[in-house]
């Protein structure tokens, strides 16, 4: 059994209450930090832990914290990104819903480390009931003196608010999130300046994912070095993976970043194999934005090594033969899945969610969706495949925020690895009329994977 640092007590009855949470050792990180450590020392532990952002980009958290500008007399903010809207990702919801105090505790300890006296949890609108759970937990924490004025008699004050978004994926992008939090239209800002210099209300701000902030708790409790012993290389600690798709046991798992992808999919401790007695066809290992991989490349890297559930191993081979850890939304597809249909579905999402500020994303996402829709429905042309390739290439890298890239990558990877399947849709329109066209007979590719 791998170690669980975040959701060990998830099945303890009443763990959502402060009383039970506390009886399981909750809030010791706040005590330890505020009573025995300076804020700088907490930042130092986070640096030593090697913790990397769990929101998608995997940026080292300690480093991000040390970039925070500290001009005298200017407020600093910590904002928790709980907008979790990436298709395939639902780990933050699980954590907040089951153990809300884990996030509240992380927010207090992290705010102390950053010298923030007002902090926000920005949660997506569809998680309304989760926001209620968090607010309940915050009320308990205020009543018990973990929040408010003079916490633990230390003179440190902290107010924590939950802010509910209005349902936009783009508000997960940190600067769009800040705009939205300020009450404006959720358009990403043009960077620089970065939030560490000018974030919320123009003040220095750190934006971190829910899981990142929750991970600060065990790091402070056990020490950064101890935390860093888990995992391989620069992928330290445990990671929440939300597994979905054609798996026998979909759900949220906490893994040590030292197991293989194969073990994660097939072992009974985790996903328990592919559902329906079928074979694995493909997988999106890190949420809809990351490149899809065919089964062979998912399990072994291009140079024949076992692929591991780590940042480095998942991205081994770059985009040609690798993918990304992303936000940990692990989606598996068995042989009944149609890659074209899946790509169209993702494209539809990005088209719908583009904020519309910059032209490549605003216009390109819609164009890609229309072409994919046509291909999937048997009206496509051979040239459409190359056209799609060209459109995604012209979006990628030319936009204000990474949503454009996120829309381009899945399309690129699908064509890169499954071109034959796209061609099949053009050649045999009558065979794909049934929306479940690969259910009875799966698509047989001449090779396992095609690489451009």
């Amino acid at each position: 059994m791998g170690r669980k640092l975040l959701i060990e007590h998830v099945h303890v009855p009443g763990i959502e209450t402060l009383e039970v949470y506390r009886s399981k050792g909750g809030y010791t990180s706040v005590e330890k930090a505020i009573k025995t450590m300076s804020p700088e020392a907490v930042v130092e532990e986070v640096k030593k832990s090697g913790l990397r952002g769990r929101g998608g980009a995997g940026f080292p958290t300690g480093l991000k914290w040390s970039f925070l500008a500290k001009p005298p007399g200017v407020a600093r903010y910590l904002v928790c990104n709980a907008d979790e809207s990436e298709p395939g990702t639902f780990k933050d919801r699980y954590l907040m819903e089951k153990i809300p105090h884990a996030l509240i505790e992380g927010m207090i300890t992290s705010s102390y480390a950053l010298g923030a006296h007002t902090s926000y949890i920005y949660i997506r609108g569809e998680y309304f009931y989760v926001a209620r759970i968090l607010e309940q937990a915050i009320d308990e924490a205020y009543a018990a003196g973990w929040l408010g004025k003079n916490i633990l008699g230390s003179g440190y004050d902290l107010d924590l608010y939950v802010h509910i978004g209005a349902g936009a994926y783009i508000c997960g992008e940190e600067t769009a999130l800040l705009e939205s939090l300020e009450g404006k239209r959720g358009n990403p800002r043009i960077k620089p300046p970065f939030p560490a210099i000018a974030g919320l209300y123009g003040c220095p701000t750190v934006v971190n994912n829910v899981e990142t902030i929750a991970a600060v708790v065990p790091i402070v409790n056990e020490g950064g070095c101890e935390y860093a012993k888990i995992g391989i290389g620069k992928s330290t600690g445990t990671k929440l993976i939300s597994a979905g798709g054609h798996l026998n046991k979909p759900g949220v798992y906490e893994i040590e970043m030292s197991i293989s992808v194969e073990e994660f999919i097939y072992s009974d401790e985790y996903c328990g194999g592919i559902s329906g007695g079928k074979k694995l066809k493909a997988c999106v290992p890190g949420g809809s934005s990351v490149p899809i991989l065919p089964a062979d490349l998912l399990l072994t890297t291009a140079n024949g090594e076992k692929r591991m559930m780590t940042y480095e191993s998942l991205s081994d081979g770059g985009f040609a033969t690798g993918s990304m850890m992303g936000s940990g939304g692990f989606i598996a597809y068995n042989e009944t899945a149609c890659i074209v249909r899946n790509t169209w579905n993702f494209s539809r999402f990005y088209h719908h969610e583009s904020c519309g500020q910059c032209s490549p994303c605003r216009e390109g996402t819609g164009w890609m969706e229309k072409i994919l829709h046509r291909l999937e429905n048997g009206h496509g042309k051979m040239e459409d495949i190359d056209l799609l390739w060209d459109i995604q290439r012209k979006i990628e890298g030319n936009t204000i925020c990474p949503l454009g890239d996120a829309a381009a990558w899945p399309v690129a990877a699908a064509i890169r690895h499954f071109r034959e399947e796209f061609e099949y849709h053009v050649k045999y329109p009558e065979k794909i009329k049934d929306p479940n066209h690969f259910h009875k007979q799966s698509f047989l590719s001449s090779k396992q994977s095609v690489t451009i």
Binding site: A168, I190, C355, E363, G364, K394, N398
Partner: protein
């Protein structure tokens, strides 16, 4: 003062200059096209992405290239920065992509559009676009909206440059933001109507790079290239009163602000001058308005060519840009001859 090199031309610029401004200081072909940036409007730029350039060296201190093309209108020059615009084929290809994106949902109704002839998108498409479209789906359309009785908003033509929103924000009071909805169904907000009471709302028409905001008092009166633009002024208490009169015979068809060679308004004018003074007698005419040579407006007006200047320009282009544009017109032998 930082030194920056753009397309092999070095220039020293004041601290806090953007790449686009630096390129404009050099002038000529190195200037990237800009569809959303506007020098007179704060926080403008960054949206359309036509002004992207490649930064092959970030600065003298950090000589690494920037990983992605950057918006030159929103990126500040650093000492030792090396920028490629027309000298980078990949960049020109990426820009062509941006132009294509701007055009796929544009109605291309130039034959019935008042902006034709003075449209930045037409000029952009002409210089940087492809001759044929690859987009074969239905284009998006919107209903036309009247913003007060003087301004017409035809959202179907809009490229969402946000310039009019900034005019409404910065020149008029009481507005916060002006775009509704998201993605490719975003539209300029009708709340902008509230700005119409203001004396300077008419400037929205001038900043619009396309025909999305047009002057209701001029709509369908004439193609701009059949008009005779004149510089004129009047004593005005609200603005400087310096305008361009678009005339036919003795009739004033339209009054607009004066624009520089980058099609940016030099001085904002008030609605009083713009909409309420359509008589020649209201104005002191200074003389003919010089229009940029790439505009079809100038087609009907012949000007003397300064041969000495032309020669210098040709030599500059040959030296710095491999004579890209000139080669399109002249053969190598002709160029040698001219030298």
């Amino acid at each position: 003062m930082p030194k920056v090199t753009i397309d092999n031309i070095e220039i020293e610029v004041p601290e806090g200059t953007t790449i686009l401004q630096a390129a404009r200081m050099i002038g000529g072909d190195v200037v990237p096209p800009a569809m959303c940036y506007y020098s007179n409007l704060k926080t403008s730029g960054g949206y359309c992405r036509t002004c992207i350039v490649k930064v092959s060296q970030a600065s003298a201190k950090d000589p690494r290239p920037m990983p992605k093309p950057v918006a030159s209108c929103r990126t500040f020059v650093q000492d030792g920065m090396v920028v490629q615009n027309t000298t980078s084929p990949e960049l020109l290809e990426a820009r062509k992509g941006v132009v294509e994106f701007l055009l796929i949902n544009h109605p291309l109704d130039c034959p019935i559009c008042d902006q034709a002839g003075e449209c930045d998108l037409q000029n952009l498409a002409y210089e940087h676009g492809a001759a044929k479209t690859r987009y074969d789906f239905e284009r998006r359309t919107f209903e036309k909206i009247d913003i007060g009785n003087k301004i017409k908003l035809h959202m179907t033509r809009c490229i969402l440059c946000y310039r009019c929103v900034k005019v409404a924000d910065q020149l008029t009071d009481g507005r916060v933001h002006g775009v509704m909805n998201r993605g490719d169904v975003s539209e300029i907000s009708t709340y902008i109507q509230n700005a119409v009471e203001n004396d300077f709302s008419g400037n929205m028409i001038d900043v619009c790079p396309v025909g999305a905001l047009t002057d209701n008092t001029f709509r369908f009166k004439s193609r701009v290239w059949f008009t005779n633009p004149l510089d004129a002024h009047r004593a005005c208490t609200k603005c400087t009163g310096k305008v361009v009169l678009w005339t036919k015979g003795n009739e004033v068809l339209r009054v607009s602000a004066r624009k520089d060679k980058y099609a940016e308004v030099e001085e904002w004018i008030c609605n009083d001058c713009r909409f309420e003074h359509k008589n020649m007698e209201d104005w002191n005419v200074e003389g003919a308005r010089k229009t940029a040579h790439d505009s079809v407006i100038s087609q009907n007006h012949y000007e003397n060519i300064d041969l000495q200047k032309l020669k210098l320009e040709i030599n500059r282009q040959i030296k710095h840009q491999g004579g890209k544009k000139i080669k399109e017109v002249y053969t190598q032998a002709q160029i040698e001859n001219k030298k």
